[in-house]
Symmetry: D2
Subunit: 368 residues, 4 copies
């Protein structure tokens, strides 16, 4: 019997995504039967005190402050990139050169030129690589994919429409943050949340053939910590229409200006025999209309996606006991570890992330 | 070919129910192919000016003020009773003696003694008779009945629970009205709205074997028009549990003290293979859970009950174009006219209304 | 005291819209205190037998078969046009010349050239004129307008997105009908249902500055009555993005290929202090998010739009007793009659309908 | 500065509740700033291999098999009882004698006699004690409590109605399990899930004055592992009506025979100025009707209980990112540890659990 492998992880980033990924690395082995042991070896951040606290609270063996050193460290197997977007490319390319398996937060890069270099790097080094589009692994979304693939809504897709709406900067007095600056974030709502629904469009329906788009920056300047105003040079919202290569129609909206919508990633897909609809704010549900039901009893079914045979669910709780946002990261880690050990490609990999990046660029150009 | 019959109607009552029934008599022949012509001959009220106005506005040939005369009038075929509850028995008995077909608003009477006399009268005279439990003829409710009868939720019913909740007297300053006085109304929430859900319980599941109940009058006195206080001697709310003869469990609630619930008649029925749920505030919908669906795709279906093959619907509008509250009265009239012409019993008839009345009495006693 | 006026109406068209308008003319005086009496003088159709039946069933004094004669008839005050779209212009222009008040079904015409001629005609003759965009007068939609105008969602609108989705031709075997032929209908989903949401966009938010669009005909040919195939030369679906002149973003979708969506006209509007959302399949509801509520108690309110102080409601039933689809036509008639008698412009008038028509043309061009 | 304390925990039980509590002990220090360190010292089960596996997977230092030894072990500070109900009393009494802080799964005991002895034991030993009615600490439920206490629904409660409905044994072929045997479980749906809603009734509204009840065992025998049939001697469902001491009316239902209801703990509370409604299947939501809103804008608000100022939320994720079932146990642990360290009583303590137990007994007697 071969010795069971241990995979040592270094996490870069200590903020929101750092917390979410830390939790996922901790929880994955508690609920899933992983094919390797996980060692949470190091967490890396620039702020020494904050990183030390994070290491202790989040369960990492040590705090480190030099991403180049930890990325090169021969004891590390996996580099997990949770930094702001402008650091993704440099770190990922270094990690690839050092032969690490790489998990990178979305969007893969600030633009497709950067993303292209990252793909080249991981291909050259042949390292396992994955972009953390975690919503693919919400059970209801994974079920959507299964149901489309098995023909539950027919052999032809007519419409995919998705909306990712938040309201955290709808208030004009919300201050300037890095997500509102082009040089760090690359884009605004488009790259931050629009990237998720483009990934889902491609995951669930297929490649996009063309787009038209409009964008807007509703609040043009924001107050900085220095009590001066800085220009907002990213989009607050973007609306997109287009077509998929398979003939389906596409409609997308990403906005941070929808009061009352806290984290509403919703989509509806219409096929020739039925429809599927999802809303992340009700993430344990999937609505399904089956046109094959008898006419008197047709209606959208409100499936509670917590049954043992639903994707990822049997490892959690009994039917009707819902899971939360962070579980989608646990599922991502579970599948990434499985991909590393079985040497099968992880999905979505960097090449896939590049395709999404190209659509982001396409939309940006179309919206000018 | 036999000459087509004309049925002349006299309506007693000019208020809320008078308006609803008038509309139904007017609209029924416009949308349904009735087996007789309808003549809206007379509307009867005590207030001369008000009744004259009602006649004109609501479409009646003449206004009359003496219910005894119109009930005895040989040119009248149908007496439609929409008066306060305390007048039901006397009018219905007179109308039966005069050989009229009778439609009576619910509850049939103030108590089962009165109701018994009404049943005796219509049996003796063999006149067509019907109690206007209009909610039986909401399409979604009629569909519920059809689906239970065809075994869609299995051959065994486990639970029927219904709630009729309103909030129009939850405010302590709401004044005294006849519905809050025992000598006119018979009872409070119980007879007014509780009667509807008892009728539906019996219609959908079967006869009730026994009950336990509690009742409450939350606001004990109300201001009258004379600026003095009068005692509220009816129930504000009643809660009931019990069993049906077929073994199913019963749970009922009628209340006028549920802020936010405007006219919420809701029920849920659980059977051995599925469940059905309804809410009058969403009256064009029926929720259906089919335990025979594949496990991954089970969920309550939100059926929009506006398809051509749904009960009563093909006479109205295309799919998805909803109907309103008053349409349930139109359906009641349609079926009543059909029963008169075809000489088949109307449902629910007075005998059926008496059974409901006995359950009301049973609950009143249990709740003491 | 001036003698009360009687307005004589001639209705052109006996099908779906003919039935809906007939009902509205009949019901309006029963529930609303109109400033004139209504005489339902004539209904006009080409099929003699069918038109005679319609006259009797729908309550018109006489059936006529020559639209030119009835339009010129000096005893007629109002011409109500419910014919297929290709006849709108010719009839309306003749009616204007004859000095009639004109109510015309939407879309006003097949294109803006036709619509322009109609506007010229009514302006020249100074006759009252209105386009029957009935959904403006759904109480929840009228309430939306009131709430926007009084600043309930702030002084700035960020987003208007609307969708009109049906599924009646999603089945490939559905046969060819006039609505799928360009020469009769002008366009497909765009003109039929898209026109409604464009009208609502303009009504609720303001004029549209520019659009991008994609369209698709999913099923390219349909079986005719002659058992041969005919080409579908209208759009099955159209997706639009754009901007309003006031800076708000626009997103529209009209489709007949959304299985499970029977008559789903839905919109969501986001403003700087709140949001409003509506769905015609739940037409007695309006969802309202008020960003001024205390943070712990913020959430979309599900307003049941059946309170006495909601638009049009006090003339119907008590709170919680819902109204149906056809009531929106009653409200339209009520306001049209009021406009005629008070000599105030009806809204939306033909000039308004022309503006909507121009947006339809703009979208058609953009979608090529 | 006083040395920071470490609390050593022994968990008894390795099944569903064992997993849920293990997760809570692991996660609490990762997301909350606890006033003590937690040492997950031992997990105890009868099945040696299974317990060893559980220890490893769930994160316990050692597996032990003798509950008496571990309960007496001087290195243990906290005993967490997750065994079947029939073992609660004996273990808790031993743990109390050994001076341990005790967290006990609900229901506290099989009956109030047992519960009384447990209360006596913890009082005598003055040890911290808590019953794990975890649903009190779902954020939406904790918010309900806060809003009632601050008068958001008025100074008077009219109605509390709750339902706990599941469907896992609605299928007649589901086999015999310990939860269906009186001698182990004490009661059926009543004690298992009814206990939760009785606890919530008492937590949210106050003490119960009296009850009437009916119960039923729909499926009287079930197949055992030995392929013979055993009698089901617990209730499958129970319906309760009653009154609170403060005059509010009570309606409860607990059932395992509601197809489609997976884990539906729902309640609605009506007060003199508003209403609150909750459904565990949508556990991140709370519906709130405020009768003080302007009439045109009144409606149930659908509050997404994920704002930073909602109970427990700021320690998790940003607004709109929902949490799951197991988080309610984390909150329970957090509050229990706080109670131990600050020497304040934990809520609900055993004395509180005894009161709930007495209501369970009262219902059982009433339902005979």
């Amino acid at each position: 019997m071969p010795k069971r492998r241990t995979l040592s992880v270094a996490l870069l980033g200590t903020k929101f995504m750092g917390r979410a990924h830390s939790n996922a690395w901790r929880q994955a082995p508690r609920f899933f039967d992983l094919p390797a042991d996980i060692r949470m070896a190091a967490i890396c951040g620039r702020d020494h005190a904050g990183t030390r606290r994070a290491a202790k609270t989040l369960g990492w063996e040590r705090a480190v402050y030099d991403w180049k050193a930890v990325t090169a460290d021969s004891s590390i197997d996996i580099v997990d990139i949770c930094t702001p977007n402008d650091a993704h490319a440099e770190i990922a390319i270094a990690a690839a050169r050092a032969g690490k398996a790489i998990l990178c937060e979305k969007p893969l890069a600030r633009n497709s030129t950067e993303a292209r270099r990252m793909v080249d790097a991981v291909k050259r080094s042949r390292v396992p690589n994955m972009v953390c589009f975690n919503y693919r692994r919400v059970p209801a979304v994974a079920l959507t994919k299964e149901m489309i693939d098995t023909g539950e809504i027919g052999d032809r897709i007519y419409h995919f429409r998705a909306r990712y709406a938040q309201d955290w900067i709808a208030n004009e007095n919300f201050p300037m943050v890095w997500r509102l600056q082009s040089k760090v974030a690359g884009s605004g709502a488009l790259g931050d949340i629009g990237a998720h629904i483009i990934d889902l469009a491609r995951f669930l329906v297929g490649e996009i053939a063309g787009v038209s788009a409009v964008r807007e920056t509703f609040v043009k300047r924001r107050l900085t910590k220095n009590r001066s105003y800085a220009k907002v040079d990213v989009d607050d919202a973007v609306n997109v229409v287009g077509k998929f290569k398979n003939g389906a129609m596409l409609s997308l909206e990403a906005t941070r200006f929808a009061p009352g919508r806290k984290n509403q990633l919703s989509f509806e897909i219409n096929g020739s025999r039925g429809s599927l609809a999802f809303d992340l704010e009700k993430m344990n549900r999937l609505r399904f209309y089956d046109a094959r039901d008898p006419e008197y009893a047709r209606g959208f079914r409100d499936i509670i996606v917590t049954e043992p045979n639903h994707p990822y669910i049997k490892n959690w709780w009994p039917a009707g006991h819902i899971i939360g946002y962070e579980h989608s990261f646990v599922h991502t880690i579970v599948d990434f570890v499985d991909a590393i050990v079985t040497r099968r490609p992880a999905q979505p990999d960097f090449a896939d992330g590049l395709k999404t990046q190209r659509i982001l660029d396409l939309i940006r150009r179309a919206a000018r």
